[in-house]
């Protein structure tokens, strides 16, 4: 028994030493950020490190669901995280986000009011917008021989076998619902079924439902039209001059990624300082000029700090009338099952 106790004590001691050591990193403070890869301008990081004499530890995740899986069991030590719109709502409901101390983030006033107070965080209690973009149609101008501007192009027999949709029931159905003139967040089974039937009717036209890889297929010439995120297409456009991006006139889905502080963040004050830093017009512009996503920073746009080429690009900053038709995807509760079933039926019907 005594031997066992000694052994246990030794084990706990050695474990404490090992784990304890892994945390200390000199006397410099370390701010831990958890974000997508290539989703921030390296200059911005360097500037913050220099100004505040801290080190930034930048880790990456692949999507908001992975972020959620990581944070949910207990924050492993991140100070600032970047959840997507719908994920802010889920995380806030789970009580794993720290309320922001707005007094410490005066640069909040630089933000465009139209990105604030959204349904996923009505009073911006937990999050502030970081970058935004849209879901639209990426297409090859050589195949279409001209501009397109409607979801209807995705059902054009001209492109049979050269169309890709998203392998995500909610996104693909949102587009079809908008094309049919319905609310993309509808819970009405009849409307969902109409969208399903339209997809099944056109099954021969569809080449694939792809997991966010439409831009690659488009680049390779495997498809001529694909439903994709604005930023994904514009990044490939830089290398392939034949590619274009269109926001359909029927409207589309918009997303915003947001900055939030998870519960248990080791450096909450520094995290707020960082969020305030990102909201500076100059810094916000540097980041958007690097990612080519839309900036919610109104001051940066007003001061002309955003790359004029991006600002004039209606795919990144759409005109007001289209802007009015853009919608966030919302949690539809029990109706999610309806979408999932309809999507399964589409896939069974459109299986080639």
């Amino acid at each position: 028994m005594k031997r066992l106790l000694t052994f246990l004590l030794l084990f706990v001691m050695s474990a404490t030493v090992v784990f304890g050591c892994s945390r200390t990193g000199g006397n410099q403070q370390v701010l831990s950020i958890y974000n997508y890869a290539t989703y921030i301008a390296p200059e911005a990081i360097a500037q913050f490190e220099k100004e505040n004499n801290v080190k930034i530890q930048y880790d990456t995740f692949e999507n908001s669901d992975a972020l959620y899986a990581k944070i949910q069991q207990g924050n492993p030590g991140y100070d600032v995280i970047f959840p997507a719109d719908y994920m802010v709502r889920i995380m806030a409901a789970d009580n794993i986000l720290e309320p922001l101390d707005i007094a410490k983030i005066p640069n909040k006033t630089n933000l465009d009011p139209r990105w604030m107070n959204q349904t996923f965080d009505p009073e911006n209690k937990y999050s502030l917008p970081y970058q935004w973009g849209t879901m639209g149609i990426g297409y090859n101008i050589k195949a279409t021989k001209g501009d397109i501007n409607s979801w209807g192009a995705m059902f054009d027999p001209k492109y049979t076998g050269k169309i890709a949709w998203q392998d995500d029931a909610r996104y693909t159905f949102a587009a079809v619902l908008m094309y049919l003139g319905f609310d993309p967040n509808t819970t009405n089974p009849a409307e969902i079924n109409k969208a399903r039937d339209l997809l099944i009717k056109n099954k021969n036209i569809i080449a694939a439902f792809v997991p966010d890889t439409g831009q690659t297929l488009l680049d390779q010439g495997e498809v001529n039209l694909t439903m994709e995120w604005s930023g994904d297409i514009s990044q490939v456009m830089k290398e392939n001059p034949n590619l274009r991006y269109a926001i359909p006139k029927e409207g589309t889905i918009v997303f915003s990624d947001n900055m939030a502080i998870p519960k248990g963040a080791p450096h909450k004050e520094l995290a707020e300082k960082f969020i305030n830093f990102i909201l500076k017009p100059e810094v916000g512009a540097t980041i958007s000029n690097f990612t080519h996503y839309g900036s919610p920073n109104k001051a940066a746009i007003d001061k002309g700090l955003i790359d004029p080429k991006d600002l004039k690009n209606p795919q990144i900053y759409p005109p007001t009338e289209i802007f009015a038709k853009m919608k966030f995807l919302q949690d539809v509760g029990k109706a999610t099952a309806l979408y999932d079933r309809a999507a399964t039926e589409v896939k069974a019907g459109a299986g080639k």
Binding site: R23, Y36, Y39, P42, A66, A69, D232
Partner: protein, 285 residues
């Protein structure tokens, strides 16, 4: 007469066909790797279309060597590789030692609960990795909370927890491999050593260990490989600043997996090739 001629003809064809088949099999195995190597010189930021020759990706690997920021496409790759190699090396060493000990215990001794241990041994092999990952995460979170309440020291997920996670599933693979070799071993060899006056420790060092060393070696190699490309368990046990290469590559999917990943893969391939060649050389001499 014609029948014999036909037979000879078939035989000749068959001989040629064997070569063709072998060539096809090798092509199937190695063409993808060859393409991966070729694309590491691709001037495109995306791994999809060939857009000319460049050495930039190799350059970018080394110019950003010190950075820990996975912001520009290739920065952060080398630190991630470092973490991967460190985790693999330590977890392999630990798993090999523990696994071999366990194999010896199970094969040579009878003790209460032996059957249960045997059954438990196979669990990590058949259990879905995601179950291991999540249960480890829950375990660590709970254990850390208890330690914090008792001692006031706040512990976090990090490299040590990843290493423990890898040891967990690697022990099984090592034990199974080493046990297979032990089972083949003639127990009379050890008994002969005892008869000649060697004690247990000496018998192990002089007789058993040299005989099972090849199995231990291949078990260690297996553990190293499994650890190096593990994603699921790593994902759940990793903390701040302990990104591994598989985690980083997966994280790049959202925007673009750049040819920098091909470049690092090519370098790793070269390194392992050198390792194999030199180990063959050593064995010969």
């Amino acid at each position: 007469m014609t029948k014999i001629k036909l037979d000879l003809f078939v035989r000749a064809i068959g001989k040629q066909w064997l070569w063709v088949q072998a060539a096809l099999a090798f092509a199937f195995l190695y063409l993808p790797i060859l393409i991966l190597i070729i694309y590491s010189f691709n001037a495109s930021k995306f791994n999809a279309v060939w857009r000319g020759f460049t050495l930039d990706w190799y350059g970018s690997l080394f110019s950003n060597a010190g950075a820990t920021i996975a912001t520009s496409s290739s920065a952060g790759i080398l630190p991630a590789l470092n973490n991967s190699l460190l985790i693999a090396a330590i977890s392999t060493a630990l798993a090999t030692i523990f696994g071999t000990m366990l194999a010896l215990a199970l094969e040579r001794f009878h003790f209460p609960g032996r059957k249960a241990v045997e059954a438990l041994l196979f669990l990590p092999v058949i259990m879905p990795e995601i179950t291991i990952g999540i249960s480890l995460l829950v375990f660590f979170t709970l254990a850390f909370r208890i330690v914090e309440n008792l001692t006031g020291i706040r512990l976090n997920l990090g490299l040590p927890t990843v290493i423990i996670g890898h040891v967990v599933f690697n022990i099984s693979f090592v034990t199974i491999t080493v046990r297979a070799r032990l089972a083949e071993l003639d127990p009379q060899l050890e008994q002969a050593a005892f008869d000649l006056g060697a004690n247990e420790w000496r018998t192990f060092l002089r007789i058993t260990l040299p005989l099972i060393l090849p199995a231990i070696f291949s078990a260690a190699l297996l553990a190293f490989t499994l650890s190096l490309d593990d994603f699921v368990v790593t994902f759940f046990t990793t903390g701040v600043g302990s990104m591994t290469l598989p985690l980083l590559v997966y994280g790049m999917i959202k925007f673009a997996v750049t040819p920098a990943i091909n470049a690092i893969s090519t370098l790793m391939l070269l390194a392992s090739l050198l390792l194999v060649v030199s180990s063959l050389k050593v064995q010969k001499s």
